[in-house]
């Protein structure tokens, strides 16, 4: 074994602890700076594009809607019409048909999927007390498996008329939306899962279940505040 020859297979200069630390910290600071600059530079444009995409999605989850209005849910549980979200309180989108009558409300919700948080939008029709549409706004679910929640026709059919009917005193949903195994849906409030995308499809059922249990009673009891003047 020769010890005086430098190891040729490794690259870069050899360094002491101080040098290693300087290099890592230096690169770290430089990289952080680059990322922050890019984030700041693209933020406005991304926000605009996302708002546009959200607007388009509202029309997708509420059939027959021709105009929309954003409403903010205040801390005291009251909805009020706003121009843009304040970044803290949840927002919903009221959709109106040609005659200006309230056709439905699109609600944004999110929850943990398989890979990352899934952000969805679903449409609620107060006159039939059902969920009438569903759209994935953001997901990083496994391509080919988890992303079936966006493409599988049988799964999407769950959201044609998913029951979120309220109890007689209008304080809560009678039967919370729950995910079930593929092919075992027997009640209008159950979401049929997808084999091969079990976790992702269950996540969607749970996200809608949790969100609708809170939002639907609130919305239904304030339907008048969504009506166009």
């Amino acid at each position: 074994m020769s010890t005086n020859k430098p190891i040729a297979t490794q690259t870069g200069p050899s360094g002491g602890s101080k040098k290693m630390l300087t290099a890592m910290v230096g690169i770290g600071v430089f990289c952080a700076l680059l990322i922050v600059l890019t984030y700041e530079g693209t933020k406005d444009r991304i926000d605009t594009l996302k708002a546009e995409a959200l607007e388009k999605a509202v029309f997708k989850v509420l059939p027959g809607v021709t105009s929309t209005q954003m409403y903010l849910l205040g801390a005291e549980g009251k909805f009020s019409a706003v121009e843009g979200p304040d970044g803290k309180n949840p927002v919903v989108y009221a959709g109106y048909d040609d005659t200006g009558a309230l056709a439905g409300i699109a609600i944004e919700a999110s929850g943990q999927g398989y890979a990352d948080v899934i952000r969805i939008l679903y449409g609620y029709n107060p006159s039939t007390q059902t969920v009438v549409g569903f759209y994935v706004l953001e997901s990083k679910e496994t391509p080919g498996l988890g992303d079936k929640i966006e493409k599988d026709e049988n799964f999407l059919a769950n959201f044609d008329a998913l029951s979120v009917a309220l109890s007689e005193d209008l304080s809560q949903i009678v039967n919370k939306v729950v995910p079930v195994k593929q092919g075992s849906k027997s009640n209008p409030w159950e979401v049929d899962g997808i084999t091969g995308a079990t976790i992702s499809s269950r996540a969607i059922g749970n996200i809608i279940g949790e969100s609708s249990a809170v939002m639907v009673p609130l919305i239904y009891n304030q339907l008048d505040s969504f009506k166009k003047d």
Partner: protein, 213 residues
């Protein structure tokens, strides 16, 4: 394959910048010869637009990381080089991620998880480790441009064939007349394997022919 590379290396002991460029584009094409980065190659080559966007995103990250690694090569101690390379690569992937979001939300949705996965694309780390950390900035740029364009070219070859046969269109423009029956399988995952196999067959056919001649 390896015999060809060794032979070329012997003929040109100090390859010129043009050689570094041509090498990645053709002779050592990252997809068709080195068969690297198969995950995005097979997954995001279902349409020509997706393939081009993914290819360009990867090429950009490759170019920028090669430039930075080459310019810092005398500053990064060998013990922390892999950590430094990954940090540099991850930074540019984040930048690309924001840039694509700013260009089009739909495109970002189509490419989805694969943008973040550029961080672990073996092509980029292998160029940083095997080339950029040992060569000048100029040569590293040529190497990255060659390899990057070679990757874009290969992805486009797959994407174009798959979109043409699977959807009857190219860049969403209808190419075949209305009576064309689409081969749906070509835009499904299996079509990626078929198309890649056919391109590899073609490349190897030319190579064998060249060796025989």
């Amino acid at each position: 394959m390896s015999a060809g590379i060794t032979k070329n290396a012997e003929l040109n002991p100090t390859p010129s910048s043009t050689d570094e460029f041509i090498k990645g584009l053709w002779r050592e094409n990252p997809v068709f010869v080195q068969v690297l980065g198969m995950c995005p190659v097979l997954a995001v080559s279902n349409t020509a637009v997706n393939a081009l966007a993914m290819g360009l995103a990867t090429a950009f990250v490759l170019l920028m990381s090669n430039v930075l690694v080459a310019s810092l090569r005398n500053f990064i101690p060998k013990q922390v080089r892999i950590a430094s390379f990954i940090l540099i690569i991850a930074t540019f992937v984040t930048i690309v991620d924001y840039a694509i979001q700013a260009i089009s939300v739909d495109l970002h949705k189509n490419l989805g998880a694969f943008i973040s996965l550029i961080v672990v694309n073996c092509l980029i780390l292998s160029r940083a480790e095997a080339f950029a950390s040992k060569n000048t900035i100029g040569k590293s740029i040529m190497d990255a441009l060659g390899m990057g364009l070679g990757f874009v070219f290969a992805l486009f070859c797959l994407g174009a064939v798959r979109e043409l046969l699977g959807n009857g269109t190219l860049f969403d423009i209808e190419v075949f007349p209305g009576s064309f029956q689409e081969w749906i399988i070509m835009i499904l995952p299996a079509g990626g394997f078929f198309t890649l196999a056919l391109w590899l067959l073609l490349f190897n056919f030319f190579k064998t022919k060249k060796v025989q001649a």
